[in-house]
């Protein structure tokens, strides 16, 4: 195996290790839930992605096979991590509403004319039925 390839794989592993470590540290150290949420979803996901790339490179270069498992893992990871994070955040906002002076006051404006979806109803859209034409109401 070429030395540069070996170096690249090693670099990927080390870098992704650092990202995963940072993500775990963040999960442990950051003060609020909203902040803590960033650590595993961003840093760790990136780290795992790097490790997967390293794994693919290793199998291609050393074993001579093309491994597609990693692609699947990536796909599931990219699908589940954002959704999970999104729902943890939503659940958090939802529970905060009950407390006095909770998150609601501290949330920034959405800048769209509508409020935050957990708290305020969605803007009316032209529905599937044609009876509610745009501009009506």
């Amino acid at each position: 195996m070429a030395i540069w390839l070996e170096a690249l794989i090693a670099l990927l592993i080390v870098v992704s290790g650092v990202f995963i470590l940072v993500g775990s540290l963040g999960l442990l150290k950051l003060p609020t839930l909203m902040m803590r949420l960033h650590a595993p979803t961003k840093a760790t996901t990136l780290g795992v992605g790097g490790a997967l790339l390293a794994s693919m490179g290793f199998f291609w270069a050393v074993e001579g096979t093309i491994s597609v498992h990693e692609l699947l893992v990536t796909a599931f990871l990219f699908l589940t991590a954002p959704v999970t994070a999104h729902f943890i955040a939503k659940a958090h906002l939802h529970l905060e509403r009950k407390r006095d002076g909770g998150e609601r006051e501290r949330l920034p404006q959405t800048g769209t004319g509508s409020g935050w979806s957990t708290y305020d109803p969605a803007p009316q859209t032209g529905g599937e039925e044609g009876d509610s034409a745009p501009g009506e109401g």
Binding site: L79, P82, V83, H86, F87, K90, H94, R97, K98, T112, G113, S114, G115, S117, T118, Y119, D120, P121, A122, P123, Q124, T125, G126, G127, E128, E129, S132, P134, G135, E136, G137
Partner: protein, 952 residues
């Protein structure tokens, strides 16, 4: 074969009335009658042979291991009874057509009637006593339906229940007696049993057997002290009374006495039990009948009395008496059915059956009056009608019978019974039909349509003809039947109207004069009767039933009080006690197998699992947390399966976990989020001690098993999976092939469980529960976005992927980890995600699948795979597999087990989705919000109409 057809025809025909009632009442009655005519014609085909003394047999082995064979045989006795059942049945069907009113559901009546007819014919033609018992119970059940036919009448319902309790209870005794009888004879076939009379009478089991069988016979034939149900059964429509309670069903007990006569009769015990009961019943019931004011009540007690007469004759144990009994069965059936029918006509035309309100009907309805009076004369034993001849034969037998050394007792009692019998028969004729017409009938009576009085007229014609020419008409049949009863021990028997100047004639004259005198002085007799004691059977019966119910309720409520903790504690405690008893009674050595070292992964798994368990126990009152903790444990178990190289189990476990957790969370939405504290401290200590003991016990058992070398059946499965089942995935081959029948049963259970969930929750959608649900306010605030865009998009992306995985797992299941069960769960999860993302209604509109039909389809597909093997001549669910070569694809294995797996798949999807759909319907009722139109709250691809702010 045609014998079995005679029995089956009424059962098959019972389907017709319900269908044909839509074409009108005449079509319905005609169809019912034609079924009976057909069965009667089949019976007549065999008549010449049977009258020659032959025995016709037919049948096949049904459950030979139990000795239960569907064997039928027809001899003289069977012919007599089958002829009565079918012949009178035909008349009753015609009569009922005119009797039932427009409002009565006639199809139902005829269906019940044909069911009863089939059961009754089955009783008299069975050659196997176990088969006979089946039909015997069927007669009890179908008569219950018939007595309670007018279900809006409390008297009908109570009478039906009483008849069922008494005859059904007697049926239980009968079952025990018959089983003993079969044990003694070594066979359950009647034709064998009938030849082993001496062997049976010598057995020590003879007495208990006799007692049990007699209880069954006496309850069915309304003998004292079980006679009380028959008068109450008179709440039934009159055709039922005429058919069941005079001609057929109540004679089933007597039929059995006659059938088993060669085996059981002839001993002293038999004589004193049967003859005494019969004689006593005859006299007592005749006395009561005289003072009954209800027409049908009078006839009911007279029926009890005449049944007692026949029982008495069979109890005497002499062949001549048995022959007289057989003859009286015919005569009683003819005149009593005619009397019931004419009582029904009187009731129908005048609107009352109360004798003091009747009288003088002779002038208003001469046809009915003539028929009724001829039949009553026969019942009284007045020559030249048929009742006279058999009563004369009975008195003749009674005249020569000493009882416990007293020669006068039996003749005197028989004469007394005959006096009462003459008196009530004359009362029926005189008080109803004689005298001047009255002005105060509830309705203006007149003779009914010919179809109504023709059936009794046929019977009355028989009464007269048999009376005048007994030898020519009934002689051969009576001889054939009596031969069958006595086993051929019959002396020369001839029936004559004129017997000569015998003691019996003298007793008859005494009875006639005495009866006439009694009726002449009826007022005095009635006053004396009124002054005497009247034990009311119904009150005693009701009190006994109430005590029985109270006792069983006490037992149930003491042992079974509804506290699940208690049941669990009892079960665990008994398991611990039994385990300890077994453990302490044997020597034990520690296992010798080397233990493996703990790998870090396994250690972490174990810690997580223990932690999950601890979390669930410590916080079990916070239900949400408990569900999460339990799902953690489940997840660890699945990983454990994977770690121990059981990918099938891991896949199954993980998908089951997901589905269970989702359904539990959905259900939890409606429940309090905290469990209230219920257990006292002491009980918690008890539960804790029990849990620890049981847990340590199970752990110790596992340890003991795992530290020993042992061989299991798995080696066999591993060897046979490919050659025997055609699949490399042993787990799947076990499920769909080796133990396919188990799986078949399990998917049926799964389907039933889903339907039960549906039914239980359906109850919450109706009545007060629904009102409660509609007024329900959630205990948690609801988020403003019910269907977040993120969830909708993610699940929509996942859907094809998940479906593909499901199908892939289903197809590869036979050779690699997977299979129908896992595939069904995976597809269910994919669908549940859609429901969760876009709401139940939105998703349901796009899933036009009937989930309950899916369950049925799955079970049918799986069953059809099994049946297909039977068609090929193999046992049920035998699997076949082959390899075919397809272009492009290559070698493909086709196994019938895969089709079976598809059935499993369909059932699982149907069951899970049905449960989900029903829980979602609850949510819909409780949410008070309109269904969403679009798949998500806000769809950025469509332009915003307005940015409305939340008014709150």
């Amino acid at each position: 074969m045609s014998l079995a057809l005679i029995v089956l025809l009424p059962f098959l025909g019972a389907l017709l009335p319900g269908l044909l009632i839509r074409s009108g009442r005449n079509a319905c009655a005609t169809a019912t009658a034609s079924v009976t005519v057909l069965a009667l014609a089949l019976l007549l085909v065999h008549t010449p042979a049977v009258l020659r003394g032959e025995v016709v047999q037919a049948g096949w082995d049904w459950l030979p291991g139990l000795g239960l064979n569907a064997n039928f045989f027809l001899d003289g006795l069977g012919l007599l009874f089958a002829g009565l059942i079918l012949g009178i049945g035909l008349l009753i069907i015609i009569y009922a057509r005119f009797y039932l009113s427009e409002k009565d559901p006639m199809g139902l009546f005829y269906t019940y009637l044909l069911l009863f007819q089939g059961a009754m014919v089955g009783v008299v033609l069975s050659d196997n006593i176990l088969l006979l018992l089946v039909f015997w119970e069927l007669t009890s059940l179908s008569s219950f339906l018939l007595i309670g036919y007018w279900r809006h009448l409390p008297a009908g319902r109570q009478g039906a229940r009483m008849a069922l309790v008494v005859t059904g209870g007697g049926g239980l005794a009968m079952i025990a007696g018959m089983l003993l009888l079969g044990q003694m004879a070594g066979s359950y076939d009647l034709s064998v049993i009938l030849e082993r009379g001496e062997q049976i009478q010598a057995s020590p089991l003879y007495l208990p057997t006799l007692l049990l069988i007699l209880v069954g016979c006496f309850t069915k034939s309304a003998q004292f002290p079980f006679h009380f149900w028959l008068p109450h059964a008179m709440a039934a429509p009159t055709p039922v009374s005429a058919y069941l309670h005079s001609a057929t069903m109540v004679k089933a007990g007597i039929f059995l006495l006659a059938r088993l006569w060669p085996v059981l009769a002839g001993t002293d015990v038999w004589f004193y039990l049967v003859a005494t009961t019969g004689l006593f019943t005859m006299v007592l019931a005749a006395g009561i009948a005289l003072f009954k004011d209800d027409l049908k009540g009078l006839l009911a007690y007279s029926t009890v009395s005449h049944l007692g007469l026949v029982t008495f004759l069979f109890g005497l144990g002499s062949p001549m008496a048995a022959a007289a009994g057989v003859f009286h069965i015919i005569n009683h059936a003819t005149f009593k059915a005619a009397l019931f029918m004419s009582a029904g006509i009187v009731d129908h035309e005048t609107g009352t059956r109360h004798i003091p309100r009747l009288g003088g009907l002779m002038h208003l309805m001469p046809v009915t009056a003539t028929l009724a009076m001829v039949a009553a004369a026969s019942m009284a034993g007045i020559p030249p009608f048929n009742g006279f001849i058999s009563k004369e034969m009975m008195l003749e037998q009674a005249a020569h019978t000493p009882w416990a050394g007293l020669p006068w007792l039996v003749p005197a009692a028989a004469t007394l019974g005959a006096v009462f019998s003459v008196a009530y028969a004359l009362r029926y004729a005189v008080h109803v039909f004689w005298g001047p017409p009255r002005a105060d009938y509830p309705r203006r009576p007149h003779d009914p349509a010919a179809g109504f009085w023709l059936p009794p007229a046929v019977l009355v014609a028989l009464v007269v003809i048999i009376g005048l020419f007994p030898e020519q008409t009934a002689g051969p049949l009576v001889r054939a039947a009596a031969d069958a009863v006595t086993g051929g021990a019959l002396p020369d028997l001839h029936l004559y109207l004129w017997h000569g100047l015998t003691p019996a004639l003298g007793m008859s004259v005494v009875a006639l004069l005495g009866g006439a005198a009694l009726l002449w002085r009826y007022g005095d007799a009635w006053a004396r009767w009124r002054a005497g004691p009247h034990p009311e059977a119904k009150t005693m019966y009701d009190a006994a039933m109430a005590r029985l119910v109270a006792a069983s309720q006490y037992i149930i409520h003491t042992l079974h009080n509804g506290a699940l903790q208690r049941y669990l504690a009892v079960m665990l405690a008994s398991a611990v006690v039994l385990g300890y008893a077994a453990f302490s009674g044997a020597a034990h050595l520690p296992g010798t197998r080397e233990t493996l070292e703990i790998f870090p992964v396994a250690g972490v798994l174990w810690l997580l699992m223990a932690g999950g368990c601890w979390l669930a126990v410590a916080h079990h009152r916070q239900r949400l947390l408990a569900v999460v903790a339990v799902s953690v444990v489940g997840l660890m178990v699945s990983i454990g399966f994977l770690y121990l190289s059981a990918p099938d189990l891991a896949l199954t476990q993980i998908s089951v976990e997901v589905v269970t957790t989702v359904l539990m969370l959905l259900a939890l939405y409606f429940l309090p989020k905290r469990t209230p504290e219920e257990s006292s401290g002491a009980r918690r200590v008890r539960d804790g001690v029990l849990a620890v003991l049981a847990g340590v016990g199970v752990g110790g058992l596992c340890w003991a098993v795992l530290t020993r070398d042992f061989s299991t059946i798995s080696g066999y499965y591993l060897d046979q999976a490919v050659p025997g089942g055609g699949g490399a995935n042993v787990v799947n081959v076990i499920l769909v092939d080796f133990r396919g029948f188990d799986t078949f049963g399990e998917i049926i259970v799964l389907g039933i469980a889903a339907l039960a969930i549906y039914a239980l929750l359906e109850g919450a959608l109706r009545g007060p529960a629904a009102a409660h649900l509609a007024a329900w306010k959630g205990d948690m605030p609801r988020a403003a976005d019910r269907h977040p865009i993120m969830m909708v998009v993610a699940t929509r992306v996942m859907l094809p992927l998940a479906l593909l995985v499901g199908v892939y797992i289903l197809l590869r299941g036979h050779n690699m980890p997977g299979g129908g069960f896992i595939a069904g769960l995976v597809v269910s999860i994919a669908l549940i995600m859609q429901y969760m993302a876009s709401g139940f209604q939105w998703a349901a509109r796009r899933m036009a699948v009937d989930y309950d039909a899916l369950i049925g389809l799955g079970v049918l597909v799986a069953g059809a795979t099994g049946v297909a093997a039977m068609v090929g001549g193999y046992p049920f669910l035998t699997s076949a597999h082959d390899y075919v070569h397809l272009p492009w694809v290559g070698e493909v294995e086709l196994a019938s087990a895969m089709v079976f797996d598809v059935g499993v798949f369909l059932t699982v999807v149907g069951a899970v989705m049905l449960a989900l759909a029903q829980v979602s319907r609850l949510g819909l009722v409780a949410s008070h919000e309109p269904a969403n139109e679009g798949p998500m709250d806000f769809d950025p691809s469509t332009p915003a109409r307005t940015a409305r702010r939340d008014p709150s």
